[in-house]
């Protein structure tokens, strides 16, 4: 992949702009570009487009839908040959979510992730920082379930406004 594509990818092309607009099927307020899972879009001199996408979690069931949506959007825009490759390395992290993406998550009612990495694995039980309620802003919240409606989220409840909310887990 590497060598024959060098030089083609230097400019983020019109094809990138189209692929970048594909919304995440499970959290449609953010695009795959916002999430940082769109890795690369290259176009060769025949106009064939090669898109590289990485999953958030290994078992993310949205990957096939995302690939279909990318192909769909690009073919409707006139690209005849589009293929989508799933890449695993380097592994995606919630740190790859753009500032715009974090803001959109918060506005949608999903508490965005904090920085990933440190704080895990020190003792038998890992402690997490408090998560701010995306509705009223209170830090007085509690985790009700470490796992939520999708692999990337956990369930929280705000003690202040009493609303339940989703939190995008740091990964």
């Amino acid at each position: 992949m590497g060598a024959e594509r060098t030089g083609e990818a230097a400019v983020r092309s019109a094809a990138w702009a189209l692929a970048a607009e594909v919304p995440d099927p499970e959290i449609p307020v953010v695009t795959i570009e916002d999430l940082g899972i769109l890795r690369d879009v290259t176009e060769d001199d025949r106009g064939w487009v090669h898109v590289r996408v990485t999953p958030t979690y290994s078992g993310c069931p949205a990957m096939d839908v995302i690939a279909g949506d990318v192909v769909d959007r690009l073919t409707r825009a006139g690209y005849q040959h589009v293929d989508v490759e799933h890449v695993l390395a380097p592994a995606w992290s919630t740190d790859d979510i753009s500032e715009a993406g974090l803001a959109k998550l918060a506005a949608y009612g999903i508490a965005p992730p904090g920085p990933s990495g440190p704080g895990r694995g020190a003792g038998p039980v890992t402690l997490a920082l408090s998560v701010r309620c995306p509705r009223c802003g209170s830090p007085d919240t509690r985790e009700s379930s470490r796992f939520g409606s999708t692999a990337c989220k956990s369930l929280w409840v705000c003690r202040s406004c009493r609303e339940p909310f989703d939190h995008f887990k740091a990964l």
Partner: protein, 251 residues
């Protein structure tokens, strides 16, 4: 010609089958867990394991070079061609057993995937890079339950200890030596080197949970050579019957 299921392909298949069969057993709990949040948690954990299994199976198929993809490997291999350890394949219809097993298996996977980050096989390193972060959540989840039940009521303590006693004899098989050629090539993580760090982490959790490390004779194992308990057959029958009854069906 050497057995195609040995060596590099066999190693990757072993890891894939552990994850796949564990995913099947774990997802059995969906709608049967003690609370709704636990249904969701175990569904997510099973899904992570399934995702790891899919990537590993696809990689094993590519390495093998016979045109077998992830579905072919999952649905069309018989028991004797499966390479999973006995720990993951047995029934786990007791919640304490399920949590004891998840603690053992996820802790092992955490150390395994951490070691595979530096594998000379970029396919394995790629899967490990994602999985290592996912299984940290699995370890966490199992730890919470083992602490809660172990250091809970007399009844929960007793049942958690009994569950550990059931699962502990299957721990040893995870650390069975692999083909030294794979270690020399930097492809595999040496299972024998994983034993101490895994035990250290488990013992720390058990101490905190007021549970004792079971003194039990290890089981003989044999899963990596295709020798399984009777119980694997039932998992495979359930998982494979639809595809085998309707080959090539799409939905």
């Amino acid at each position: 010609m050497s057995d195609p299921l040995e060596g590099h392909v066999g190693y990757v298949l072993g890891l894939a089958d552990d994850a796949l069969i564990s995913a099947q057993r774990t997802s059995w709990w969906i709608s049967r867990a003690p609370e709704l949040e636990e249904d969701v948690a175990l569904a997510n954990i099973g899904l992570d394991q399934l995702g790891q299994a899919r990537s590993l199976l696809a990689h094993a198929g590519a390495l093998e070079g016979q045109g077998r993809g992830e579905d072919e490997l999952a649905y069309w291999r018989d028991e004797r061609d499966y390479r999973c350890v006995h720990l993951v394949e047995r029934d786990q219809a007791d919640f304490g057993v399920a949590m004891a097993r998840l603690l053992l298996f996820a802790t092992y996977q955490a150390e395994l995937y951490a070691a595979l980050l530096g594998s000379a096989d970029p396919g394995l390193a790629g899967v490990a890079g994602k999985a290592v972060k996912e299984v940290a959540y699995h370890v966490d989840h199992a730890t919470h339950w083992v602490l809660r039940l172990g250091d809970g009521t007399d009844e929960s303590h007793e049942r958690m200890q009994a569950a550990l006693d059931v699962e502990w004899p299957y721990l040893d098989e995870l650390f069975e030596a692999v083909d030294p050629a794979l270690l020399d090539a930097g492809i595999a993580a040496d299972p024998t080197a994983l034993r101490l760090p895994v035990l250290a982490r488990l013992e720390a959790v058990l101490a905190e949970a007021t549970l004792i490390v079971p003194e039990v004779t290890p089981r003989r194992g044999g899963g990596r050579r295709g020798l399984h308990t009777e119980e694997l057959g039932y998992v495979l029958a359930e998982m494979q019957h639809l595809t085998r009854s309707h080959p090539g069906a799409q939905w």
